[in-house]
Each structure stands twice: as structure tokens, then as C-alpha cells.
């Protein structure tokens, strides 16, 4: 596997000439505004006419240990002993999420499928349902990672690359095939729950209405104080820790994607089931940076040297909290990676990765890493 990294900024263009070869696939993570940069997309499709181009809009592009906004981070990937195939599905409403996942899984399924990278619309899709649709229809043991597209702190709309151009309401997936390929992964948060535990007294799927019979939005506004004017972005500072019931030891983290003042509701990136128990979470700089390091350490725990690409999907909520210090979490990731590993990725509205138990799920507020390794000898 050979990977070339490249940055793009409107006005200054590509940081270096695009490699003139026919790669296995190209990854593009860019600002929402890149949607209107027709010259960029024309350059890309002209250079790589028959190559699958995957990616999505972001809340920040990651290249190495740098985070930028307004442009794009590109990875041109050549697989030497493996193959890649890309498929897409449309998602018009949230209710389509599960079916979209199932469709992608069925189109990609094959005996030598090793892993799937998923890039999804970040505003319409219910990430939990999408992942369920995928996992239920993929052969056992296939690793699924990826993330939901972002839109900076605006939460207005997102795009996903389809047929070499940015399209709204789409989910794309790259299937990676071949015995030489290994997909390692790690996902950690660093957030801690605080304050009282509340019961979800009214919700529908990922839309939350009431906590302990009070409007959820009202509680958020009370906690945010002056910063309530920056909703929904400011709500990312208080993700929810959600557990199914009093006996559940395991909890998931959910972040806000949008709010509806008229219905006093909040839409989250994944399910917030009625009857479940939630607590607000918060994080310190150090805990987030430590969490990122832990994710890298987890992913590298079974690493065997080979051609390596590291895909970073980190949550917009972390970026909001870390602010100017955001690159510290990328530094801490890099300190656990072998020297010279190509790293690219994006800040997202939701991360997809298996958890410790092996089940794949949607995460929020995590640093999620996928380490793609192509070995000379087939992976066991």
C-alpha cells in the first residue's frame, strides 16, 4: 500500500501536484463550502476518472497533526495486494437509515471482505440505525469504521462524495478485500458524567423531547446560560451519557445535532430511547488528550509492521472544547504511531467503530482511529 497525502485551500490550490497514477481509491475530507468549488471537483475527476472517490464534509480537516478549515485533506491510496470497491445509498429521511445500511452491506458482501469504511450524511441519518443495518447484513468478523459528515459549528447541511462530486443525503462505503489487509481500530472519549441522572420521559428514535418530564431543551439552556445563544453547537459541550436502564452497566455517549425551538426538541446523532437514563457529561483538556492517546494505544495493541494508513475520525464536540489546543490530541495520537505513518481524517458529527466487546456501534465525542495495514504476508 502506498499513500500520498495532499492539502487543498481555495485560492492557493493543492499543496503539491496530485500524483498522476491510477490509485485504488481517493479519500477527500473538506469544508462544507467546497460544495461550490466546481474547479476542485473537476480537477479531481479529471485526474482520477475511474477511481472510487470517497469522503465527506467536516467540522475540520485532519492531515498529519494539523487541523484546518475551509479547504480539504486528500489521501490517494494504492493497494498492492488488496482491492477496494465503493457503493453509495440515498437517505431522504431519518427513517431510511437502517435500509441504507442494509443495502450497502448487501452490495459489498463477499467472502474476502475484510473491512468497510463508511462516510455518511451527518444531518438526516440516524447513525445507530445505519450501523445496525450494516452489521446485520455483513458477514461476521467484518470490521466497520468511519463517521458522519460535519458542517463546522453550523449544523446546517453536510455532503458525501458520490460519483466524484459532493451530494447531500447520501451514505457511501468502501469495501476493502484481500487476505493481506488488516483493519485495527480504537475509540475512546475522555468525558465524565456529572450531576443527577435523569430519565428520558419522551423521545422518538434520535429526537429527545423531555427529561424527567421537563423539556430537554430548557435544561440545556439552563446549564449553558449565556452560551445558549450558540445552540446547537454549544450543546456539544454537554453530551449525554445514555444507559438502557438501572441495571445496565454499559452506557453510550450521544451528542446534539440540531434543536427545534417550536417543538422544544433536540435531535441527537443516535438513539436516545424513551425510559433510558441519561447524565450530562463534561471533559477537561487533559482528559480528552489522554482519551485520544488511549484510542491510539488500543488500536496499536495488535499492530504488526506493514504499509500503514491511519484514518482519524474525531468528534466536533472535542474540537469545541479543545479549541486552540485541538492539535494536542493529534500529537498524542501520533506519539503512539510508528514514525512516518500517513494520517488523515476529519472532525465529525459521529464516529463509527467496534467497541471493546467487538460489536460495532455509533459513538459520539470520541477519538476514533482506523489503522489500515497491508502486509507482504497474508494477515491471519
Amino acid at each position: 500500500m502506498r499513500t500520498s497525502l495532499c492539502a487543498y485551500q481555495p485560492g492557493t490550490g493543492f499543496s503539491e501536484p496530485l500524483p498522476q497514477r491510477r490509485p485504488s481509491f481517493v479519500l477527500v475530507f473538506g469544508a462544507t463550502s467546497l460544495e461550490d468549488d466546481s474547479a476542485f471537483w473537476a480537477d479531481l475527476t479529471r485526474t482520477y476518472p475511474d477511481t472510487p472517490i470517497a469522503g465527506c464534509s467536516t467540522a475540520g480537516e485532519v492531515l498529519g497533526t494539523r487541523v484546518t478549515d475551509g479547504g480539504a485533506a486528500l489521501g490517494i491510496v494504492d493497494l498492492e495486494r488488496s482491492t477496494a470497491r465503493m457503493v453509495t445509498a440515498s437517505v431522504r429521511t431519518t427513517a431510511d437509515s437502517h435500509a441504507a445500511g442494509a443495502q450497502l452491506a448487501k452490495e459489498l458482501g463477499a467472502a474476502d471482505l475484510r473491512g468497510v469504511l463508511v462516510f455518511s450524511d451527518g444531518r438526516v441519518v440516524n447513525g445507530s440505525a445505519l450501523v445496525r443495518g450494516l452489521v446485520e447484513n455483513l458477514p461476521d468478523g467484518v470490521v466497520v469504521t468511519g463517521g458522519l459528515a460535519g458542517d463546522g459549528k453550523r449544523f446546517d447541511h453536510t455532503w458525501v462524495v458520490q460519483d466524484g462530486r459532493p451530494v447531500r443525503g447520501v451514505v457511501s462505503a468502501i469495501g476493502l478485500y484481500g487476505a493481506s489487509l488488516t483493519m485495527l481500530h480504537g475509540s475512546q472519549g475522555g468525558w465524565g458524567a456529572f450531576g443527577p441522572e435523569r430519565t428520558v420521559t419522551a423521545s422518538e428514535g434520535s429526537v429527545l423531547y423531555r427529561l424527567d418530564d421537563q423539556p430537554a431543551l430548557e435544561i440545556y439552556k439552563r446549564y449553558l446560560g449565556d452560551m445558549a445563544k450558540d445552540l446547537p453547537a454549544s450543546a456539544l459541550r454537554f453530551p449525554l451519557s445514555v444507559r438502557a436502564d438501572r441495571n445496565a452497566a454499559h452506557s453510550v455517549v450521544r451528542t446534539v445535532l440540531s434543536i427545534d425551538e417550536r417543538r422544544q426538541s433536540m435531535t441527537f446523532a443516535g438513539d436516545v430511547p424513551q425510559g433510558s437514563l441519561v447524565r450530562f457529561m463534561q471533559a477537561s483538556f487533559d482528559r480528552l488528550v489522554d482519551g485520544a492517546a488511549q484510542a491510539a494505544s488500543d488500536a496499536m495493541s495488535t499492530y504488526a509492521a506493514g504499509d500503514t494508513l491511519c484514518l482519524v475520525v474525531s468528534c466536533v464536540g472535542r474540537r469545541l472544547v479543545l479549541g486552540e489546543r485541538i492539535e494536542e490530541e493529534l500529537d498524542s495520537v501520533h506519539s503512539h504511531l510508528p514514525a512516518g505513518v500517513c494520517t488523515l481524517g476529519f472532525y465529525s458529527y459521529g464516529e463509527i467503530s467496534p467497541v471493546a466487546s467487538g460489536d460495532c456501534g455509533l459513538h459520539n465525542q470520541t477519538m476514533t482511529l482506523t489503522i489500515l495495514v497491508e502486509n507482504a504476508a497474508p494477515a491471519v
Binding site: 450531576g195 443527577p196 449553558l224
Partner: protein, 428 residues
């Protein structure tokens, strides 16, 4: 030493700390520094805000929890008081040294003491009993509890330990008034006794008449009539035995059985009983044997009642032994105890029946009453007689098969009553 964030900001803008930057880069640096301050302010604001909000919510929750737990405690206390008020039994709670802590209204009514009068007093002293039987499982004991006014109250009670967590903090004494039940029992006994007496007189005549007929004293009967009269005579005998047993039982229970005590030789009594019952054993094809006895085994007892017990045990042994088998009566005297044992060669006592074998109307299988011709009262009467005479009675299944019933009395070598107690005479 620069702050890591500031060092990073300088590096990102390509600024050498030793050299002043260009005006454009300087402006960018100021913007980034200002942003870092703003972010730090925001983080601090949110931290303070969330601390304040969650503290307020936690305080509200605490207040709510406190109020609801106070309400719940009061509710539970009232419920418990209502249960104790309504329960149709006297309930006393005792501390670990058996001092009374509380009385429920039924206990106050039955005993005549108010809670204020009884509280803090020693329960045994107040109730006029030497000791209170403790039971983990609530097994009932009988006693007479002293009342403030009037005669002692016959009660059935259970004293069970009271635990708080794993610590025993005292006991709960629950008691029931037996006055009414005892009155009913008395009425029932009197009724049975009256009826039995009324039955016995005509029955005695009938038995006598049938005996004369069956014995041929009144002339030879035709063969068919002889059989019928024999059956009628046998059943009349059985009915007389039943009536006599019921009357004995009633006498024992009402405390009206009198004993004629003097010194007797148990060896002689055993020999006489063997002789008396040999004819009965013959009916079952069972040999009745008397093992060698001590020359003299004196006990201070009631001769007639001891013979009644021996007859009961021997007739049972004969009935439950196989035809051709033997029943052995043995008298022994050791350690100042005279013991009489009746061994049979029957099937032994089934385990499930052993606990109630000395109860009234006890038969391992009720159909046996008809087959074996017993009343089911013999062992109950025997036990009562032996215990009232200061002895002990019991049985053991023999390893070689069969059962040995025994009873024992204190030996009375000087011819006077012995001070030995029953428990000391049980087998070791």
C-alpha cells in the same frame, strides 16, 4: 519556559521567539492569543455554571429525597402500628435482656397491663413464668400468663428472635388466649365421657349376654348361629375396649385419673402379663416368651396401670408379628432404673410414622385399625400413664428387624418413691 499552547501557536505561525515577526504575522498571533483567552474564559464559565446548576439540582433532589423518605418512614411506622393494633393476638417486643419494650392493644386487653405499666419490666416476672421458651421457627409453647386482675390466662405462645440487619436486638412474643379453646375441649371431653358411660352399661350387658350364648351356657346353638354370635361377641369386646380407652384418655386429659401407688416387683408384673396375654397371642400364631428376669426389680407404681401398659404393648407386638414369630418380654435393672422391653418380629415402624406414633388415633395406615382390630389409643394412653407415673416410654427399630417398645421407672430398692426423672431413663 513558554506555555505549551503558546509555543505551538508560535510554531504554527512560523515565529522564531528570538526574532520579532512581521506586522501581519504579529496581528495573527494576537488574534490566536486572544482566542485562547476567550476559550479559557468560556471553559471556566461553563465549569462554574455547571457546578452551580448541578449543585442546585442536587440540593433540590436531596430535599425531595429527604421529604419523601420522611414520609415513607412515617407511612411504614403507621402501617406497622395499624397491623399491631388489628392483629388478633397479643404481641410483646422484648429487648435483649427480655425486658418489655412494647405491648400491642390486644396484649394490653388480655393481660390487663397498659404499655406504660409493662414497659421496661422483666417479661418473665410480669407474666409470672419461670422461663420463656425461645424458638427460631415460631414453634408454639403453652403456659399460663399472669394477668393484672383475675386468674392466670392459659396461652399458646412463640418467642422468636428480633433482628435488625444481622444483629439480634431482642425478641417478639406472640401469644393467643386459649381460654375459649380449653372450654370447648372440656365440653367435648365431658360429652365424650358422658356418651361413653351411657354406652358402657348397655354394652356390658350385651357383651355378657353374647358371652353366655357363645360359651354354650344357654344351650347348643345351630352352627350358623354360633358363628354369627361369635362375631357379634368379638365386636362387642372390641367396642368395650374402645369405650374404655376413650374414657381413660378423657380421664388422663382432664387430670382425673387416680393412681394407686405402692411398691411392686416388675419381674412379677411382667410374668403375670405374659400369662394373661398368651391366649391373645395364640390367636395370631405368635409365641409369647419371657426372657430371664432379675430376681427382684422393685418400683413404686400403680400395678393395675402398669399391667394395662404391658397388655397394650404385648397385644400390639402380637398383632404386628408374623404368624409363627415370637414376642419377647424382658425386664432389666441397671443403674437404679427398671426397664421393661417388648420385642416383636414385625416390619418395624415406618420413618414417616415415628413422630406421631404416640399420638391419639395413630395408626401407620388407617385401614390397619380395621384389620388389626386396635383403637389407635393404646400407645397414647400408655405414654400418658407411664409419664404420669414418673417414667419414660419409647421404641427402637431393631437392626435384625422388628421393634422394641420399652418403658422404664426408677428402681425403688428401699420401697419408697424415687427422685429419678424420666429423662434420665431414656436409652443412651
Amino acid at each position: 519556559m513558554l506555555h505549551p499552547l503558546f509555543s505551538r501557536q508560535l510554531a504554527r505561525l512560523g515565529i522564531d521567539p528570538e526574532k520579532p515577526p512581521s506586522p501581519e504575522v504579529w496581528a495573527k498571533l494576537l488574534t490566536r492569543i486572544s482566542l485562547a483567552y476567550t476559550e479559557a474564559d468560556e471553559a471556566r464559565y461553563l465549569l462554574e455554571r455547571s457546578l452551580e446548576m448541578s449543585s442546585r439540582e442536587m440540593q433540590e433532589l436531596y430535599e425531595r429525597t429527604r421529604k419523601s423518605s420522611e414520609y415513607l418512614i412515617a407511612f411504614e411506622r403507621d402501617k406497622l402500628a395499624a397491623v399491631l393494633r388489628s392483629v388478633a393476638a397479643g404481641v410483646l417486643t422484648l429487648d435483649h435482656s427480655e425486658r418489655i419494650a412494647t405491648l400491642n392493644p390486644e396484649a394490653e386487653r388480655l393481660l390487663g397491663f397498659s404499655e406504660a405499666e409493662a414497659s421496661g419490666r422483666d417479661a418473665r416476672e410480669l407474666l409470672g413464668v419461670r422461663r420463656l421458651e425461645r424458638s427460631q421457627t415460631g414453634t408454639l409453647s403453652d403456659a399460663d400468663f399472669a394477668c393484672k386482675r383475675g386468674p392466670p390466662l392459659p396461652v399458646s405462645y412463640a418467642l422468636t428472635p428480633l433482628y435488625q440487619g444481622n444483629v439480634e436486638v431482642g425478641g417478639v412474643l406472640v401469644f393467643f388466649d386459649l381460654t375459649e379453646r380449653q372450654k370447648v375441649e372440656r365440653l367435648k371431653s365431658e360429652f365424650v365421657s358422658t356418651v361413653s358411660h351411657e354406652l358402657r352399661t348397655p354394652l356390658t350387658s350385651i357383651r355378657g349376654g353374647l358371652g353366655l350364648l357363645a360359651g354354650g351356657v344357654l344351650g347348643e346353638l345351630p352352627s350358623d348361629a354360633r358363628d354369627a354370635v361369635a362375631i357379634a361377641h368379638e365386636n362387642a369386646e372390641r367396642l368395650v375396649r374402645l369405650v374404655n380407652d376413650i374414657l381413660d384418655m378423657e380421664k388422663i386429659e382432664s387430670g382425673k385419673m387416680d393412681f394407686d401407688l405402692s411398691v411392686h416387683d416388675m419381674s412379677a408384673l411382667a410374668a403375670q402379663s405374659v400369662a394373661d396375654n398368651r391366649g391373645y397371642a395364640d390367636q395370631f400364631g405368635v409365641r409369647l416368651l419371657l426372657a430371664p428376669c432379675p430376681e427382684q426389680a422393685l418400683v413404686h407404681t400403680d400395678r393395675h396401670r402398669v399391667l394395662q401398659v404391658l397388655t397394650n404393648l404385648i397385644s400390639n407386638a402380637a398383632k404386628f408379628s408374623p404368624s409363627g414369630g415370637a414376642v419377647t418380654v424382658q425386664v432389666s435393672a441397671h443403674d437404679a432404673v427398671v426397664r421393661v422391653e417388648v420385642q416383636d418380629e414385625g416390619q418395624g415402624i415406618p420413618e414417616e410414622f415415628q413422630a406421631r406414633i404416640f399420638g391419639k388415633f395413630a395408626q401407620a395406615d388407617s385401614s390397619e385399625t380395621r384389620i388389626r382390630g386396635g383403637t389407635g389409643l393404646g400407645l397414647a394412653i400408655s405414654r400418658s400413664i407411664v409419664e404420669k407415673l414418673g417414667g419414660a416410654i419409647g421404641f427402637t427399630n431393631l437392626p435384625q428387624g422388628g421393634t422394641a417398645f420399652y418403658f422404664a421407672f426408677p428402681e425403688s430398692p428401699d420401697g419408697g418413691p424415687s427422685a429419678s426423672r424420666g429423662a434420665a431413663m431414656m436409652p443412651r
